[in-house]
Amino acid sequence: MTETPLLDLRNLHVGIPGQGASVDIVKDVGFTILPGEAFGLVGESGSGKSLTALSLIRLLKKPLAVSSGEILFKGDDLRGLSDKAMRRLRGDRIAMIFQEPMTALNPLKTVGRQIAEMFVLHRGMGWGEAQKLAIDALASVHVPAPEERVRAYPFQMSGGMRQRVMIAIALACDPDLLIADEPTTALDVTVQDEVLKLIAELCSARGTAVLLISHDLGVIANMCQRVGVMYQGRLVEERDTYDLFANPRHPYTRGLLGALPRLGSRHGAAGRQRLVDIDALIADKESLSQEFCFEPRNPVRDPRLRAGGGA
């Protein structure tokens, strides 16, 4: 692979700066995303997936901040950009969609206006022209009767439809990278699949790279070429998706895969497979600062993991 990466994240640390011993919440995370590639980030709640994504677009909430590392986007370090340049990048080159389609749209504005606003904001268009493009954008996410639906308010739409509108807004300006933070968690299972297919279809048609954040390994397996597994703020494994599923290296990844129920696994009292559970242990400050943070939960005791958690 000689292609220059679209996003090159190097040694990212996120923490709370200040006096005393600072604890990094995201530790030494690095991965690359090629143009047009779909990269998945999995991990349990609190493993730092969303923080990693938010630090990419510099929207970490105080007191959180990137303490060190490089975020190279098309070769430029985003950490060095002015606020204004960063604002222009957001929504235009890097867009994001969220988990909650019910609240992610402004209740007082028609969906057409909210899509059109992207063209006005980033392309300097007039409202009339932007409204026309909004109809096309709505049509592209397969919303039926887009000419009428542009005049609808969010409360008149279902969750799945709203998530489609969010996708239309995010992709309005043809960004290079789409960050999708658990885009289907809040949706019905049947709608989940449609929305994922839509994201995959639109992004591959436009050559948009995707950073898909999820704790659902099935979703990741369907969508992404490569996947990173995060655990307690570290990227413990970063592999080709197929390889990862065939041959997980890190004990945590094995644990995650073992915890998945499998369709077609044998039933009946004798042959039933038990789902593996990972010993519940909440990451506290102490274990966070430990060199070897999986140890208390590790069923394997693998000495290879002692060096910083990498596989």
Binding site: R87, F98, N106
Partner: protein
């Protein structure tokens, strides 16, 4: 079944009455409020010719009350607009940005709430001198604290919502987020407090003019009419009663309208008061 909103309709009707009186004053009376003075008819009781009687200079009280509505409404509405602009921009930005700016705005708001606003307005009038422009400034600078508080608390609850966060990821600047995402979503409570504020400003204008610091005689402000009528209260009570009644009707109207709007816009309040 929807409950009949008496406050809204009664308040709306009273306000409409005052607005119609102010706007169509020249059509509703043939006299001039200042120059049609005739000492021949001084201190006439209400009759068919002078509906509200006449004052000590023989001016028609009915005419003066009508024209007085223009001053009261102008002062009430314009000063409330100034208050709203100040309160909204301070309140929204304080809650949105937080930090030292929030502390500063909070301190300022609490200080304003601690000083009786009429006393503060009185002090500003004393510096600026009487007249309509200084009245607008004085009342516009002294009654924004509640608007500010409401804007601040609304912002605090709104800024965590998905669409405000989403707007940031879509490249909206801070000012744009405040203007397009936050402000429109708090318009209900702001409308209520502004309506109540107009009533308060009308009352404050009357008080300042009564004290001689607002609109000066001979211009027909309800407050200054009361000053003139004070000495005649025994021999010509109508000269005081009708401007007083006008103040009462206007302030009551705006207060009822504000309460009615709140019932209309806030479903929680509605179920509680119903």
């Amino acid at each position: 079944m929807k409950r009949f909103n008496l406050n809204l309709w009664l308040g709306g009707a009273l306000v409409a009455l005052v607005v119609v009186g102010a706007v169509f004053a020249p059509l509703l009376t043939s006299l001039d409020p200042v120059f049609d003075a005739n000492l021949m008819y001084a201190e006439e009781p209400p009759d068919a010719q002078f509906w509200f009687g006449t004052d000590e200079q023989g001016r028609d009280v009915y005419t003066r009350v009508l024209y007085g509505a223009r001053i009261s409404l102008t002062v009430g509405i314009v000063s409330q607009i100034i208050n709203s602009v100040i309160g909204l921009s301070l309140g929204i930005s304080a809650a949105y940005w937080g930090g030292w700016w929030d502390d500063l705005v909070n301190g300022l708001t609490n200080t304003m709430l601690a000083i009786p606003s009429l006393i503060f307005a009185l002090a500003i009038m004393a510096i600026l001198g009487p007249g309509l422009p200084s009245l607008l400034i004085a009342l516009g600078l002294t009654n924004w604290s509640w608007t500010c508080r409401i804007a601040r608390s609304s912002t605090l609850s709104l800024k965590g919502l998905g669409y405000v966060q989403a707007a940031r990821t879509l490249g909206y600047g801070d000012i744009r987020i405040m203007a397009t995402q936050l402000l429109p979503n708090m318009i209900g409570p702001i409308l209520v407090i502004s309506t109540l504020g107009i009533g308060a400003a009308v009352l404050a204008e009357a008080a300042l003019s009564f004290l001689g610091l607002g609109i000066r005689p001979p211009f027909p402000s309800w407050g200054s009419m009361l000053t003139g009528a004070r000495e005649l209260i025994v021999i010509a009570p109508w000269a005081a009663v009708f401007p007083g009644l006008a103040i009462f009707v206007t302030v009551l109207g705006f207060n009822l309208l504000g309460d009615g709007l709140r019932d209309l816009l806030d479903p929680h309040m509605r179920s509680r008061t119903a």
